[in-house]
């Protein structure tokens, strides 16, 4: 079997672009994948087409070899764009292999270690009351057993720190009161806090409400600072969505800087890389809660990973049962009682709904600029 061409689709269904990949072969089989929407999304698409030139004529079943070809061939260890491109192509190669062998991808990863995959959603919401109401409505609809919230209130860049901490605790208290004691709730400062001691203050304020994890309490650039922070942090530390490849997770794990890791399968190097990262984490008694804010293909790839990976913890999830996201694939995976069932079709078991893509053309997108009162830029 030979790779004949690689198609890409930039689709903008709601608030950001999604980057889908389709790898074609001379036997008519094709595979799909999803690359992280880094912001420079046209650059990601272009990187995928650069790799297309390298991959045409090669056997798509040689997944590990092609991964190394793209990674080593790029020479300079990639950042967001190159690793996102590798990831999307890697997914598609696993999809092809599953279809070629007539089995779901999870069967190629060692088989089923669980019967369903636990997921959580971020309900959003501006005030503590609104977060609680939205969480209850979502629980009613999807049966979630876990949520995650943003501790920073809207406009936090302009607030005194004292108020940010108070409101963070109030927001966690708001959802805790609404959903009760038996729901797990993660808290995600989203790497907006710069000083470790401030993150520690927030952790202390959140502790009485027993958060499930404290996600990206610090910026990702300095792992030593995070390791030092974790020694003092009274709640479990989760991080990793901004880390590329097993090499960056090696540094995180060797330093004991996280209780839970959150690699993004669309950014860190695809399914091949996720399996290696999870294996290292297993040796450290660290669980994996994949970062998954992208589209329905990313969710499917993560579900296959979760089914075959013992130290998987929980998957971030955005529902795909309502338009416009519902339009993106033929049949999205659905959540029942807070879990996704095991997909049984060969490959990833999910098909792009390309006919609908015309309705959601590419739009220029970036994350916005959170200006502080003094005119300096804040983290987002």
């Amino acid at each position: 079997m030979k790779i004949t061409r690689i198609e890409t689709f930039l689709v903008h269904p709601d608030h950001r672009n999604l980057v889908f990949v389709k790898v074609h072969t001379d036997e008519g089989l094709y595979g799909i994948g999803e690359a992280y929407s880094c912001g420079p999304d046209r650059a990601t698409e272009a990187a995928i087409h650069d790799f297309e030139e390298w991959l045409i004529g090669r056997d798509p079943l040689d997944i590990e070899g092609l991964w190394q070809l793209m990674y080593i061939g790029s020479r300079l260890p990639g950042g967001s764009v190159v690793n996102a491109a590798i990831s999307g192509i890697d997914h598609a190669l696993w999809d092809i292999k599953g279809k070629a062998l007539g089995v779901p991808v999870w069967q190629l990863l060692g088989g089923k270690v669980r019967d369903r995959v636990r997921v959580y959603q971020n309900p959003g919401g501006r005030t503590p009351e609104e977060i609680g109401e939205r969480a209850l409505a979502l629980r009613e609809r999807y049966g979630y057993t876990a949520f995650k919230i943003n501790p920073h209130p809207p406009g936090s860049e302009s607030m005194p720190w004292n108020r940010v901490v108070r409101e963070a605790a109030a927001r966690l208290e708001g959802i805790r009161k609404a959903v009760g004691e038996d729901i797990d709730i993660g808290v995600d400062p989203h790497a907006k806090i710069f000083e470790p001691v401030r993150a520690l203050e927030m952790a202390e304020a959140l502790k009485p409400y027993r958060p499930f994890f404290f996600e990206e309490p610090l910026r990702p650039e300095n792992i030593d600072a995070l390791a030092e922070f974790k020694k003092q942090c009274p709640i479990p530390v989760a991080t990793g969505e901004m880390l590329y490849t097993k090499y960056e997770f090696r540094d995180l794990l060797v330093r004991g800087a996280a209780d839970i890791i959150q690699p993004d399968v669309c950014l860190t190097g695809g399914l091949s890389e996720m399996k290696k990262i999870a294996a290292m984490a297993e040796a450290h008694y660290v669980t994996v809660a994949p970062h998954n804010p992208m589209g329905p293909v990313a969710t499917a790839v993560n579900v296959h990973f979760a089914i075959a990976t013992h130290n998987f913890l929980i998957l971030e999830y955005i529902p795909d049962d309502l338009p416009p996201r519902r339009d993106l694939v033929k049949e999205p995976l659905v959540v029942k009682d807070g879990y996704i069932e095991v997909p049984t079709r060969p490959g990833l078991g999910i098909e792009l709904n390309e006919e609908a893509f015309g309705k959601y053309p590419y739009r220029s997108w970036h994350r916005g600029f959170p200006w502080r009162p003094d005119g300096a830029i804040g983290f987002i």
Binding site: G65, K97, Q107, K112, K246, K276, A279
Partner: protein, 378 residues
């Protein structure tokens, strides 16, 4: 696909036993594995008897699940004996999976990253001349590596100083004879303590060994740090380790250059591939330990074909030259390389009836003593 039976086949191979394990399923597909704890076969077989009722009725597709169940199911984490049993079962399950999907096992591990796998044989000689002759014969046959171990006296006596001094002379003679293009692996086999090992490693640096294997005993790998501070020779350790956790220190403290994973002790293909990916992040290469039979050889070959950070594989003799009635289909060797099998699964055949014709014989591994009568490692 349900597991219907699991059976251990200890096979006397003339000089030593090999322990094969066959897993049967209700779909008529069977797989074969091998356990690696040479000299303690009865212990491994006992564990397999404990595992049998746990495994019958399980879905053979659930390889990772079964691994977790066997490793953790007995409350006490699996040690070397139980890990060897798990290894054999795991390898058999990968064989079954490949056959069920109609592809060689390497396809299930990510596909080919190389076209062939370089391997080294075992050399020996009672004198330096005999050793040199053995190495030259190896070179002539097309192998790219030679390998021998720390010499001992006749009568099972090992005195470190004289062994080290003799080994240095061996090194000089072999390097001179085989030339620069042949790689030299040397196996201390855990026989030395750090000072002797360090003296030896420094002395042979000039002969450019590919690696020095197991320069010290394996219980306390911290001592390797001291040795590594004093010598530049590449180090290879790990053949005695069961599970990823025993590998953790040498990988994360970067105490070794080559990981001598024994697939038949460490926990099978499932565990070996996890360790392999971990090694990749520390720029450690695999040098799979394989003093065993043709099933171990095939399992190592499939992993190495799909693993980017591969160095060399042990292959004591050319495949197809031993146990040919028990394993009538073995992997192929050409010019010092093992070639990718094209047949589904491990790509070998196992004959149960032939296996029964070579029943187990009680045989202990050799023991060595110092001149004062005390025990020292073989």
């Amino acid at each position: 696909m349900k597991i219907t039976n699991i059976e251990a086949y200890p096979v006397w191979g003339g000089g030593r036993n090999y322990l094969f394990v066959v897993v049967d399923t209700d779909e008529g597909i069977s797989g074969v594995g091998e356990a690696g704890l040479t000299g303690r076969e009865l212990g491994v077989m006992g564990v397999i008897e404990h595992f049998k009722p746990l495994l019958i009725g399980q879905d053979a597709n659930r390889i990772e699940h079964i691994w977790q169940m066997l490793f953790r199911g007995g409350f006490f984490p699996a040690g070397k004996i139980a890990c060897s049993a798990i290894s054999a079962i795991d390898i058999a399950l990968w064989d079954i999976q490949g056959k069920a999907r109609g592809v060689p096992v390497y396809q299930l591990l990510g596909g080919l990253v190389r076209d062939k796998v370089v391997c080294y044989p075992h050399n020996s000689g009672r004198t330096i001349e005999e050793l040199v002759e053995s190495c030259l014969r190896t070179k002539e046959e097309g192998w790219k590596f030679v390998r021998w171990g720390l010499p001992q006296r006749d009568g099972g006596i090992l005195e470190p100083t004289e062994s080290v001094l003799l080994a240095i002379k061996q090194f000089e003679a072999v390097r001179k004879a085989v030339g620069d293009e042949i790689e030299i692996c040397f196996d201390v086999h855990t026989r030395l303590d750090p000072p002797d090992a360090t003296y030896f490693c420094k002395a042979v640096e000039q002969y450019r060994p590919f690696f020095i294997e197991d320069p010290i005993r394996s219980e306390g790998m911290y001592s390797l740090r001291w040795l590594r501070e004093h010598t530049s020779v590449p180090i290879a350790v790990g053949e005695q380790f069961a599970s990823k956790w025993e590998f953790r220190q040498v990988i994360e403290e970067e105490l070794t250059d080559y990981a001598r994973i024994d697939l038949c002790i460490v926990g099978g293909i499932s565990e070996a591939r996890k360790i392999a990916g971990w090694c990749e992040t520390h720029y450690i290469k695999l040098a799979t330990h394989n003093p065993l039979g043709p099933v171990s050889t095939a399992a190592c070959l499939h992993l190495n074909l799909a693993c980017n950070n591969f160095g060399v594989m042990e292959q004591p003799r050319r495949p197809g030259t031993a146990l040919t009635d028990v394993v009538p289909v073995q992997v192929e060797w050409q010019d010092g390389y093992l070639l990718p099998p094209s047949r589904p699964g491990l790509g070998i055949a196992f004959d149960r009836e032939a296996a029964k014709k070579h029943p187990f014989q009680m045989r202990e591994l050799p023991h060595l003593r110092r001149l004062d009568g005390s025990v020292t490692n073989w």
